[in-house]
């Protein structure tokens, strides 16, 4: 009897298939993540003339990504950790990173779906169109932006063991981002707060996405925002991975 280590590709495809099925069966949560930006996009119709179509799209997409990373990802990780699902997987001959990579791959697919949905709603409801390069770069910036919120979600799960506390903490942070985006980002709380908001994880992601939608106008501010965004990803992911415990006991 020979001991066989399965190929990483075989293991990964089995994990991915299971994670996609789980995501599909829990599609109510995903639909909610999709509804948040769609509702914002429709209700912000009046802002299009003021801040422009791309910025409106970027704002609503930002909320979708925040919802996905904070409400969806962190809660599903906390729940599975609580149920011991990760421990069961970890006793199998597969590297631990494969478990998380599969989860993140599902989230990446969700980011692409939300981005596409926003493009479709933006075109059909508000007649917002982008150049082909704009659509392409936005998929990239949405993935980078989504990574910030997934990393933040990971940090919350890393710093908090209890699933209920993860749920409460992620809701609080989500609410904070909504407030920052709605009032701070639009200048309702004054120029100083608007400037601070510009460099928060909400502001930098919103900046790179708005810039990505009109790549010809990509400027130094967008480059700086991209660098800060990458910095946020590194910091949140480092905290989230280093502090993460595979079991909640």
């Amino acid at each position: 009897m020979e001991t066989i280590i399965p190929k990483t590709s075989t293991v990964f495809s089995a994990l991915l298939r299971a994670d996609l099925t789980t995501q599909w069966r829990n599609r109510r949560g995903a639909i909610l993540s999709l509804m948040v930006p769609v509702i914002i996009l429709i209700s912000w119709k009046g802002y299009i003339a003021k801040i422009g179509g791309p910025a409106t799209l970027a704002n609503s997409l930002c909320y979708g990504l925040i919802s996905l990373g904070l409400m969806g990802y962190s809660n599903s990780i906390a729940r599975d950790r609580d149920k011991g699902i990760f421990q069961r997987l970890r006793v199998a001959p597969l590297p631990s990173w494969a478990i998380m990579m599969s989860r993140l791959a599902v989230q990446l697919i969700m980011i692409l779906i939300i981005t596409t949905a926003i493009f479709i709603v933006g075109f059909n409801v508000d007649k917002i169109t982008l150049s082909p390069a704009g659509y392409l770069v936005t998929y990239f910036t949405a993935a980078v932006g989504g990574a910030v919120y997934l990393a933040l979600g990971q940090a919350i799960v890393g710093l908090t063991k209890n699933a209920e506390t993860v749920n409460s903490a992620s809701r609080l942070v989500f609410l904070a981002f909504i407030l920052i985006g709605t009032f701070g980002g639009l200048g309702a709380l004054g120029p100083q707060i608007q400037e601070i908001t510009h460099w928060t994880p909400y502001g930098t992601v919103e900046t790179i996405m708005a810039a990505g939608m009109a790549p010809a106008k990509w400027d130094m501010d967008a480059t700086n925002a991209l660098l800060v965004t990458l910095g946020y990803i590194i910091v949140f992911a480092t905290v989230g991975i280093k502090q993460f415990k595979w079991e909640s006991k």
Partner: protein, 259 residues
Amino acid sequence: MNNQQDSILKVTGLNVQYGSFTAVKDVSFDVRKGEIFGLLGPNGAGKTSTLSSIEGLVKFNAGSVVVDGFDAREKPLYARAAMGVQLQSTSFQPELKVSEILQLYAGIYGVPLTKDKLEEILKEIKLEDAASKKFGELSGGQQQRVSLVISTIHNPRLVLLDEPTTGLDPQSRRQLWERIEAIRERGHAVLLTTHSMEEAESVCDRIGIIDHGKVIIIDTPQALIEKYKNDPEVIAVSRRGKVTLEDVFIALTGRAVRA
């Protein structure tokens, strides 16, 4: 790798520490081919820490764990591939159907699973009608059966079962014992932890009693009873005149209830 060896699992001088607390102290034992070895101990004795170290879930501070010739520290993936594990709680995604869980773990262990093979497995565990049921919809006994079959889906040399019959009714428990014995008949080595002395006496070929992180004694259940049947302490705790394994266990580990 030496597939001819007698010991499928060899634990030597195992030490597990959580901060300043030593949960496992210099634990050594082996589990042989075609043997069911029971690890018994009161709550907090170090059973789960020992098992978790073997499974690779807990990093041990000293000692060695060798599974089917593979050092668990040097070749963790090979050691894990050589063992099948059933954890204390049956922990699978509740949204997945039974057939999907089997496919997932077959994929993870690199076992080709055709439709016929899947049906054969389900028939074997008497769950042929439950293939499309979600795991969360199964009864406790059905969940345990799925969990046990997954732990042996890749035909491992060593099967680790952490309190496999906890919470089962007598019928399900008996059925599970038969399945565990069938695993032994196929030449696998089985290491199980249990609080049930009846289970240890009925199923295990040898048992190790662990307390305060140390292995107190290792022997066959019958030999232990024989050895201690005239011990005044054992007779003192005996409730029905006839000395049982439980009497020996209580005499060796004390009457105090553990947290």
